[in-house]
Symmetry: C2
Subunit: 315 residues, 2 copies
Amino acid sequence: MSVLAVGTVAFDSIETPFGSVDRILGGSATYITIAARYFCDDVRLVGVVGDDFPQDYMDVLRNSGVDLEGLEIDRNGRTFFWAGRYHYNMNDRETLATHLNVLETFTPKIPDRYRDSRIVCLGNLDPTIQLGVLDQISNPEIVICDTMNFWIDNTPEQLYNTLKRIDCLIVNDAEARQLAGVPNLVAAARVIREMGPRTLIIKKGEHGAILFTEGTIFVAPAFPLEVINDPTGAGDTFAGGFAGYLAREERIDTDSLKRAVVYGSAMASFSVERFGPERLLDLTHEEIEQRIEVFHELSRIPALKLTTGAFPAVQ
Amino acid sequence: MSVLAVGTVAFDSIETPFGSVDRILGGSATYITIAARYFCDDVRLVGVVGDDFPQDYMDVLRNSGVDLEGLEIDRNGRTFFWAGRYHYNMNDRETLATHLNVLETFTPKIPDRYRDSRIVCLGNLDPTIQLGVLDQISNPEIVICDTMNFWIDNTPEQLYNTLKRIDCLIVNDAEARQLAGVPNLVAAARVIREMGPRTLIIKKGEHGAILFTEGTIFVAPAFPLEVINDPTGAGDTFAGGFAGYLAREERIDTDSLKRAVVYGSAMASFSVERFGPERLLDLTHEEIEQRIEVFHELSRIPALKLTTGAFPAVQ
């Protein structure tokens, strides 16, 4: 199956307690496609960069095997730039700068060759733009969508329209509570699924992720890491691993969705080990499978072998 | 195996968005023993109440099959009283009143018949008092201990001494971060285990619980509940289910500890369904086992049946 990612390709400047980097390759479409490429050989990118986007970064994407026909180069502008700082607890981040640049006028044009994409991943963008993408795709198997508090706050009606057209929403726990307007995550999941997406994934950082789909809840642990060097892109890497894994299995059902959540979590756990997408550039399939095995160990409830008989009587 | 719980027996007045109750039966020893009693027929309680403790509440404990020889009745004082309020998000609680009353001068005396207790559960008490209990027990199989931010703040040295003598510490995530002095829970677990307890359980409320023991991490999900009527006693109920389950299996190893975490989580998920310990008074073993099965379903990663071949080549 083919995977199409529509999102940002960006320069990121990042400060964390463990270091800082300046204008490194970033953006949702970057993380999604590089992660997905480990599982699927037909990964397509739609996004835009400016005339300042260096050949080196283009080569990173190309060498990862990402199809770049849909990456527009806007010669009249500069590449989207984001700068942020993470504090010691790594939970909240502070945005230091956001320069939309070429993103300001970006309207994704899906190349003809991409219109048959089976798995569509909509990175966090204006929900109206996300809808515009869906109008250019014919009959995808699954549409996976990210969003954020900015769109929930500022363009809720447009977001509701988009939610009606997607199959799977991926948000973090704060976004889920905000979108549903209730603090309980299980209740929030019910409310959000009633808005449209039959599948919802709530990412909870160090607390793992929860999948809600038809009649099923699945809880995936987070990979236990003592040091998280840079959380940037972890959510997009999750989405890329999730989408890529579904493409690899070539079927979408409750069981493959559960496995895809574990693969997405594994990819995200690699991503945060180094700054930017660096760790995603030299992974081996062996390393990925070893980490998947750890996820199995983390969550496996050992089979019960009772040495005693029945429960004691009460009263 | 026998289970001994040392802790409080209290009057609780509780307000939540779903209702309020006044001076109902509460206290750590109450929740621990009632929960443990579902799995073990020899559950012993050490605690103190005042002359105002009603026969009805005594009967609740007695009818649950709890051994009350160690429950002291202090005719010169009143029963420990706690009042608290939970807000809409149910995460933080506000203490409205704490009247120590008979607890102020309480020094637990372990009845001779209890000195051979195999599983010892130290509810949240002054760590010096907890140590005093251990001096009266001969060679227990496992000592399980709860504590809270008050003791971490005010009597850290005494707490460190207690930690050296226990096998298993149960704390929530905020307490773990505070005790270890690091925000990352995996790092915090390593620091705390170096303080003494070979096993650490971090309770994370709606995010489940993590078990850290020799070379092993196990992540248990929380039972998905849309409505939590009253979180009071959930942590103690967890400890009681955990301890009782270990007693039932009659062996303590990595696998039984993992299963015990799941049973503790299941018991806690029942407890919060109604105010106070009410829901714990009429459970059936069938209901418990049905909930355990849900925990298996929540965390089971389905076996992989690949329909495609190898991973795609990258580069």
